[in-house]
């Protein structure tokens, strides 16, 4: 049972994108998980895609538990966790679908690990969900992050892998944000949060 | 303070304070035999009969399992033949270092030179690709021999014939150190050790060092008298018994092996 209503508009917008699209999904601080779930659920259930979830905001185990709590099975999604290695004991988790990268500053490792997972998957329809640019911005210098997103988006677009990039715009440096706007093909904007 | 070893009373009675040289007449000349705990160094001339004396020395073999004969020149077959010839006991421990060295090291060197000159054949390469470890043929014979003698228990009897093998391959200082260790072991365990070393090419310094470590120094010499050879052994050092210093001319008989004939006192 969902603790909140999913945003059907996101699912509708996703029907418009193709595999080589790069979608920027903007959210606010308070609706991040709702927006994430509203994006992931159609990808998994409606479009029956496989994918890689890069978690830079929270540990992957916490993300998985969040999805499990709303009844979404993410056991066939591979997670790349950039947070837990920075916490002693953080990598001791009961999930086998989590890959750990030492730090969010190891951006190239994240890209390579994602490519590795995609190479080992049988699925032909894959997505990459990057959660989130603003989290990466905490550790990485603006110019480097902008450069990275450029490479990241182009790499997966070329490989026909749908790229979904979550972003809280008011926590993202302007240089990164403007570059993201430039490289992404689609925008799902849920950044203007109305608190009921 | 030196380590003290407690000897069994019965053993003390059985073995006595002296052991036989294996040559009864020589025992008589030395007033009963060789005192237990003695290390003897025999400086030898080529053809002087020292190899036979070495074998004869182990022949009393009070305890065969505590008796060790180490030969660096002869093979097992030759040693057995001599022991059988004189009806000496065959159940003592014998180690033939020279034979081992030939079969391990020389064989390997021969093969290496073949590989270097003629190259590898396909079967050699296949074998090489499947060989994961180097055969341990680079043995440290000096340490092995030292350990082997040191492992012998009270009232042991050991012969090393001869030290030349080690002096040619090792640092002489290591060899001297080994002799020193063996001497201490013999003293502590009331063992008897005979070590032969050839005088040919032996440095005076090493000779002097060995002589100073030894409790008894023998020299085996051979000289020509007319058309005959005369073999003699000279006792030039006998710790605490200078009356035993003698020159003994000996001959070899089919029954008794080395047998002293005349005695010349030198002290």
């Amino acid at each position: 049972m969902n603790m909140f209503d999913l945003d059907q508009g996101i699912a509708d917008q996703l029907t418009e994108v193709s595999l080589n699209s790069a979608v920027q999904v903007r959210c606010g601080n308070s609706n991040a998980f709702m927006v994430t779930a509203s994006t992931m659920i159609p990808l998994l259930q409606m479009f029956e895609m496989s994918g890689v979830y890069i978690s830079a905001s929270r540990g992957a185990a916490e993300v998985i538990k969040g999805f499990e709590a709303i009844g979404v099975d993410v056991s066939h999604i591979q997670f790349i966790d950039l947070v837990s290695s920075g916490i002693l004991g953080g990598t001791t988790v009961p999930y086998s679908n989590i890959h750990f990268v030492d730090s969010p500053i190891m951006l190239e490792s994240v890209l390579l690990r994602t490519l590795y997972i995609l190479k080992t998957t049988d699925s032909e329809r894959n997505f990459i969900f990057l959660d989130s640019v603003n989290s990466l911005a905490i550790y990485n210098e603006d110019r480097m992050l902008a450069e990275y997103l450029h490479t990241f988006i182009n790499t997966f677009r070329q490989q026909e892998v749908l790229t979904v990039i979550l972003n809280v715009p008011d926590q993202t440096p302007p240089l990164v944000l403007s570059n993201l706007d430039l490289y992404c093909t689609d925008l799902i904007d849920r950044g203007q949060v109305v608190i009921h | 303070m030196a380590t003290e070893f407690k000897f069994d009373k019965e053993d003390e009675k059985f073995f006595g304070s002296v052991g036989s040289f294996g040559v009864p007449k020589f025992d008589n000349e030395m007033h009963g035999g060789v005192p237990r705990g003695f290390t003897m160094i025999a400086f030898t001339d080529t053809g002087s009969g020292s190899e036979l004396f070495a074998k004869q020395f182990v022949s009393p073999a009070e305890e065969s399992e505590n008796t060790l004969y180490i030969s660096t020149n002869e093979g097992q077959a030759e040693i057995v033949r001599i022991f059988q010839k004189y009806s000496w006991p065959l159940d003592i421990n014998v180690r033939t270092i020279g034979e081992e060295y030939n079969s391990n090291v020389l064989e390997k060197e021969l093969l290496a030179s073949r590989y270097r000159l003629e190259g590898f054949r396909l079967e050699d390469i296949q074998r090489l690709a499947q060989t994961r470890f180097v055969d341990d043929v680079t043995q440290d014979y000096l340490t092995e021999v030292t350990n082997e003698v040191m492992a012998l228990g009270p009232y042991f009897r050991a012969v090393i014939d001869s030290l030349d093998f080690f002096l040619q391959r090792e640092d002489p200082a290591r060899v001297v150190a080994m002799v020193r260790m063996l001497q201490a072991h013999a003293q502590l365990y009331r063992g008897l050790i005979l070590i032969s070393v050839s005088t040919d090419g032996l440095s005076p310094l090493i000779k002097q060092e060995l002589a100073s470590i030894a409790d008894m120094v023998l020299s085996f010499q051979v000289r020509t008298i007319g058309t005959d050879f005369e073999t003699s052994m000279i006792v030039s050092k006998f710790r605490n018994a200078p009356e035993n210093l003698k020159i003994l001319v000996f001959r070899v008989t089919p029954e008794e092996g080395i047998t002293p004939e005349t005695v010349e006192r030198i002290a």
Binding site: - | K108, E109, R116, R132, V134
Partner: protein
């Protein structure tokens, strides 16, 4: 004969993800390539993958190991998903322990003279020739050259070996160890290796905010154009994976990386 500018040498396709792209198709056949790097930078893994990829396409490969026992090496090679033990059983991958080779050649000594060096070259060339090896890895040439006391002799050794292997059509990777101190000064321990080699691939680490990121950079490769950029690498069960290193993050962020 091809018009000038159209000639291109046949390539040994390494099979290493991304490396053939950097080399515009692979290593020119018969080249001797120095793969130098600091410890833990992935040199041995790169060498092993080069061989396994070769064996996978039916080529006979040889690996001379002086830095770790072949038993360990063969155990580590199993991590590759594309490795099949039949490659070893059928003789496509041949791993030789250098200490066994030294022992067989009577070279168990601390330093080699000219005669010893020639014996060693002859043995390696013999092996390559007899079993038709087209891919060879020597891991490491540094360990081997430590036994050759003269720089001139090291030069002769590498030059003669490289020339003979090239004649036999064997593409060779010579793995060289460099320390962090020499990393910026040289791409090899003795300095002569890099001059003799047809190609140089450098592997190392870039320090970024206290984390080490592995990189690979092709510094030189005769007979082909190639990228000279630093590439980040990951060692995975699918082999070495490369991606261009971020330009803003390709330089270590501390001048003195060891903080001394």
């Amino acid at each position: 004969m091809q018009p000038a500018g159209q000639y291109s040498r046949d390539r040994c396709i390494t099979g290493v993800h991304g490396l053939d792209e950097i080399l515009r198709g692979g290593i020119p056949y018969g080249s001797t390539v120095l793969a130098s790097g600091t410890c833990g930078s992935g040199k041995t893994t790169l060498g092993m993958e080069f061989l396994v990829r070769g064996a996978d396409s039916g080529e006979a490969c040889a690996h001379f190991t002086a830095t770790e026992p072949s038993v360990k090496l063969l155990e580590n090679i199993r991590q590759f998903k594309f490795f099949d033990v039949k490659m070893v059983d059928s003789g496509l991958i041949n791993v030789f322990d250098m200490d066994v080779l030294y022992s067989w050649l009577g070279l168990e000594k601390s330093s080699f003279d000219l005669d010893d060096v020639h014996s060693l070259i002859k043995a390696i060339v013999d092996i390559v020739n007899t079993i038709g090896v087209t891919r060879l890895v020597i891991d490491s040439v540094t360990t081997l050259c430590y036994k050759i006391k003269s720089e001139q002799l090291i030069r002769d050794f590498l030059f003669t070996l490289g020339k003979k292997l090239a004649t036999l059509g064997c593409t060779t990777i010579l793995i060289a160890e460099i320390t962090s101190a020499t990393e910026n000064a040289h791409w090899s321990s003795f300095g002569v290796e890099e001059a003799i080699a047809d190609g140089i691939i450098v592997l190392g680490d870039v320090e970024r905010m206290g984390h080490l990121l592995r990189f690979l950079q092709v510094v030189k490769m005769r007979g082909t154009s190639h990228s000279r950029a630093k590439h980040a690498i990951e060692l995975t069960p699918l082999g070495v994976m490369l991606t261009p290193m971020l330009k803003w993050g390709a330089v270590s962020d501390t001048h003195n990386r060891w903080g001394a």
